[in-house]
């Protein structure tokens, strides 16, 4: 794997909107149920920091992040 990959768990999501607030280029909320919508599974480099922060502040741990494996490990 060479890039950051995101996964969201809509069952865990409580719709607090922290992801859509923190990384609006990567996450949105479903207009009906308010739960997370993932716009980019592999966010472009410019949005990765925000995506990581969104995963960190998610109150229900509904966002998981797979970082690329570092070479030589």
């Amino acid at each position: 794997m060479t890039t950051t990959r995101l996964r969201v768990d809509r069952e865990r999501c409580i719709g607090a909107g922290m992801c859509a607030l923190t990384a609006p280029e990567v996450f949105d909320q479903d207009p009906d149920d308010g739960r997370v919508l993932l716009l980019h599974t592999e966010p472009p480099a410019t949005h990765r920091t925000a995506a990581r922060m969104a995963a960190g502040v998610c109150p229900s741990r509904a966002i998981s992040l797979q970082e690329p494996e570092t070479s030589g490990s």
Binding site: I14, G15, A16, G17, M18, A20, L21, P24, D28, Q29, D30, P31, D32, D33, G34, R35, M53, G56, V57, P59, S60, R61
Partner: protein, 399 residues
């Protein structure tokens, strides 16, 4: 296991004189000893007090800790279960049953659509304040009416009913009323909301409460939901706006920076949320024995979580006691954490961004009209901290 765990015998009832924005000294002292202290609830039941950021956050994210009122082990009598709809004091699946239909109505996007209307409401308040002042009480002229009008419009409380409604909420949120007064205000509010719910069911209008009547929620449940949305919608944002203004006026360098740079507004709101943490403490009860910070929280024991000291934890925030509007936001606990994290937080953010911005732009010479020590604060017994009134003045524009 640590033998020398700190003990706090009672929650403080006051803050240090001259430190209206800082947590009470006893709580700061407790956190200095470690993130978890032994604590005795007022009814004599043993408990724990958690003051460190990491531990508070981990309890909030842990489903082994319950929010149920009837499980709270704090008094020498049993507390009743939360009334239908008051989901703040419930666990899954009841909590989700109430929260889920609301979530789509409080999204980031939907709240941002309210920006223009909130700007208009704010402008109207500031116009009135400018016309009748200086001086003015910022609480009655600005901090209370803005969130009150917004949440009433959103839910669909008719304009003419707002005054009495606000009074009742003030009575039971103020922390200084007798039990009888509290009960009377609570009952009156309940009765009013029951009427409102049936009115919306009979004649739906364009608002959240009317939308909710189109669900499987009963009138009793809708009443409970409305109560917590209204109480949370009034009191928290109102106190943030007034206490936040007080904090800005006491940090003139920060206020000047905010005034000079509109791009600082969003970050300023997050920093004021962290720094002030007006929703100071919440409680959770262990459903099973839980190891926490080197201690065992026995099943059935209620822990007190201090959001304010957690948000001032030096292990989490650099210079935590400094109000720094340029601080990089990366998670505070002002809106809690876990499944109960504030449903209305995106509304609160839009309200505060609009209102603080408009206030600092409108009154470049805004200042306290009394010495800072004379600003009257809410007692620590109030659920939400704040100022009771904030006398301010400004120079009238030469015309």
């Amino acid at each position: 296991m640590s033998e020398s765990v700190h003990t706090v015998t009672a929650l403080p009832t006051a803050r240090q004189p001259g430190c209206p924005f800082d947590p009470p000294a006893e709580l700061i002292d407790a956190r200095r000893h470690g993130p978890i202290s032994r604590y005795t609830h007022p009814g004599g039941k043993p408990g724990w007090l958690i003051t460190g950021y990491d531990l508070v956050r981990s309890v909030l994210a842990d489903s082994r800790f319950s929010s149920r009122r009837d499980l709270m082990n704090v008094a020498d009598f049993e507390l009743p279960p939360a009334p239908p709809g008051e989901f703040l004091l419930m666990d899954e699946p009841q909590h989700g049953r109430y929260r889920k239909p609301l979530v789509g109505k409080f999204t980031v996007r939907r709240m941002r659509l309210l920006t223009e209307r909130i700007e208009q409401i704010t402008t109207d308040c500031l116009d009135a304040m400018e016309k009748t002042g200086p001086p003015a009480d910022l609480v009655t002229a600005f901090a209370k009416p803005i969130p009150t009008i917004v949440i009433c419009e959103l839910l669909g409380v008719p304009y003419q009913d707002r005054g009495s409604f606000q009074e009742q909420i003030d009575t039971f949120m103020g922390g200084e009323t007798s039990d009888e007064e509290l009960m009377a205000a609570y009952t009156a509010t309940q009765e009013y909301l029951a009427e409102l719910v049936s009115a919306k069911r009979a004649n739906p209008t364009d608002d959240v409460l009317s939308e909710l009547t189109d669900s499987d929620l009963t009138d009793e449940e809708l009443k409970g939901i409305s109560l917590i949305l209204l109480a949370a919608g009034f009191d928290t944002t109102a106190n943030m706006l007034a206490l936040g203004t007080f904090a800005l006026l006491r940090n003139p360098g920060q206020l000047a920076a905010l005034r000079a740079d509109p791009a600082l507004t969003d970050g300023a709101v997050e920093e004021l949320l962290r720094y002030l943490s007006v929703a100071k403490t919440f409680m959770r009860t262990a459903l099973e024995d839980v190891e926490l910070g080197g201690q065992t929280i026995k099943a059935g024991t209620t822990v007190v979580l201090s959001y304010h000291t957690a948000n001032r934890d030096p292990e989490r925030f650099a210079d935590p006691d400094v109000l720094d509007l340029r601080r990089q936001y990366d998670g505070h606990l002002a809106f809690s954490h876990g499944i109960h994290q504030c449903l209305g937080q995106q509304l609160a953010r839009v309200e505060m961004r609009v209102a603080f911005r408009a206030l600092v732009d409108r009154f470049p010479t805004l200042r306290l009209a009394v010495p800072a020590e004379e600003v009257v604060l809410r007692p620590e017994t109030a659920d939400i901290y704040g100022v009771k009134s904030l006398p301010v003045t400004w120079d009238r524009e030469a015309s």
